[in-house]
Symmetry: C2
Subunit: 341 residues, 2 copies
Amino acid sequence: MSTETTAATPPNPAPIFDMLQAHQRTAALRAAIDLGVFEAVGNGPGDAASIGRHCAASERGIAILCDFLTINGILAKTDERYTHTPTSAMFLDPRSPACLASMAQFLGNEAILEPFRHLAEIVRSGHTSLPGDGTVEPENPVWVQFAETMAPMAATAAGPMARVLLEGRTGPMRVLDIAAGHGLFGIAFAQQNPEAKITALDWAPVLEVAKRNAKKAGVEGHIAMLPGSAFEVEYGGPYDMVLLTNFLHHFDPPTSVGLLKKVHGALAPGGRVAVLDFVPNDDRVSPPVAAAFAMTMLATTASGNVYTLSEYTAMLKEAGFAGATGHALLTSPQTVVIGQA
Amino acid sequence: MSTETTAATPPNPAPIFDMLQAHQRTAALRAAIDLGVFEAVGNGPGDAASIGRHCAASERGIAILCDFLTINGILAKTDERYTHTPTSAMFLDPRSPACLASMAQFLGNEAILEPFRHLAEIVRSGHTSLPGDGTVEPENPVWVQFAETMAPMAATAAGPMARVLLEGRTGPMRVLDIAAGHGLFGIAFAQQNPEAKITALDWAPVLEVAKRNAKKAGVEGHIAMLPGSAFEVEYGGPYDMVLLTNFLHHFDPPTSVGLLKKVHGALAPGGRVAVLDFVPNDDRVSPPVAAAFAMTMLATTASGNVYTLSEYTAMLKEAGFAGATGHALLTSPQTVVIGQA
């Protein structure tokens, strides 16, 4: 949003009411997912009574919930019947392969929500109210759930990122996938280049999820598992490519520079690191999804943040990389920053 | 939102991410109000360091919070400085007489927020998870806070409603203000017609707030206090006008019909009742603010809801009223429904 646009707008209390009540939207979508509303709507006929029977829920509750989802553009309503919008059919009906509903489990996890109940205190102190380093604490079980539930979001970026990284490149290559999580980024790489050999690094319980996903994708023979912390384990190598996806936003720049130095040391000559992350413009308030992610980092980590392309470029240079380029992904609000060793 | 518009939109995961994270917006605005950010921004110069000093908060936390408020259109940012938008200057700076910030206390009250953490369970059962009748339980202390903090919202409707009701009418009249709360609706009536004699009915501790507001407005001599429950206390009368503001949405239609019968019995011949409330269209999904208020009633009451003009007309007829008309208020998302005795 440009400052000019904002300043020209007359005073309007509506955005204030909207923000004060916005928590209801999160609660409503989570409740609808938990109750199976989107499966029921897909089944038809879509009146509140039949949705209520499917969900073992009251007709009054279902009618108010489905009206609320319609007001928010998630469902459609004609006469007294609720139907899928294209969005809910593709992303919320559990029968759709692109269903995102599992994300509600991670984003609704108490460890992720709880800090937002003490946000003033967190703004005062400047770091999460969660113990220690927050979600980045070693072996935090939240990352097993992340790997299990957030794959649909990664799926929108994994294929396109592999295409960017493999453009004009074929043949054998060694790839280290740091903080692999669900493993989807390395898996997409292996699918697009069957001669690539991937090493997936994460805490051991998280790698179990990556292993299952690799098997499902039929590329388990191309992916080796390296359990441990990205800061402590020996990387091996040398690698032609290191993936650092959704990882550096958890840390302050000096910590990231230290890690990038370690990555640099594990790269073969001519090797590259690919940082996938939320990268705002220099104003730090646009584009909205990338810029707003800083709030999640404030609430859940000790010193994480979003970083601009200039900031990533500076960190990469300080860590010994020759240069950096940014590549927007059309299908995702995230950016790939490629550092050349 | 029309069904046609929704159905024509291509699938888009953005509204789903947005809803799953919407709770962060509520937390951010509350934190900014609690920390005094809007006073600090009004003081200038508006860089994160000086706002941080004013709020006794970290620069990191303030920068991320103020960026987030800018992304959401609440603040403006130029270079590294945050300034008021017309909206935040008028409705969030505590020095503005129209400041709405106190509403965050009521809307952020645990008794109001807590049910939203169990919304699936509430949809199943069809009524609030709060004890008994929820917020409508007798003497629930939440209504003292409501009266103290929600007056700025009522202020946008009180004057215009009195103008609608007094159009073409002058001279002595007796007015009963049921569930008077902060008293602003009766006060506006007394200000516009100094010959009106108002009786404000509410639980005794709530009436203390109305008394203070009447004194502040210089109309305390025009307002008598009638402590008790609207369902139990003798109304006295007869009255020329009964105000039922933001009250009937807490109940199911039979309960409201019972109360409207009691109101009808207290009206002089030719008297009128004025129901101020959120009144959705017959589709129950528009306009958005009025329709979405049903969710608050689902979460916090046993059987409340929003009602359409046809539904209010039917209730008024069943209670003995001759007819009903709806009057939209330009300055408020609420509607005045007038019933003729």
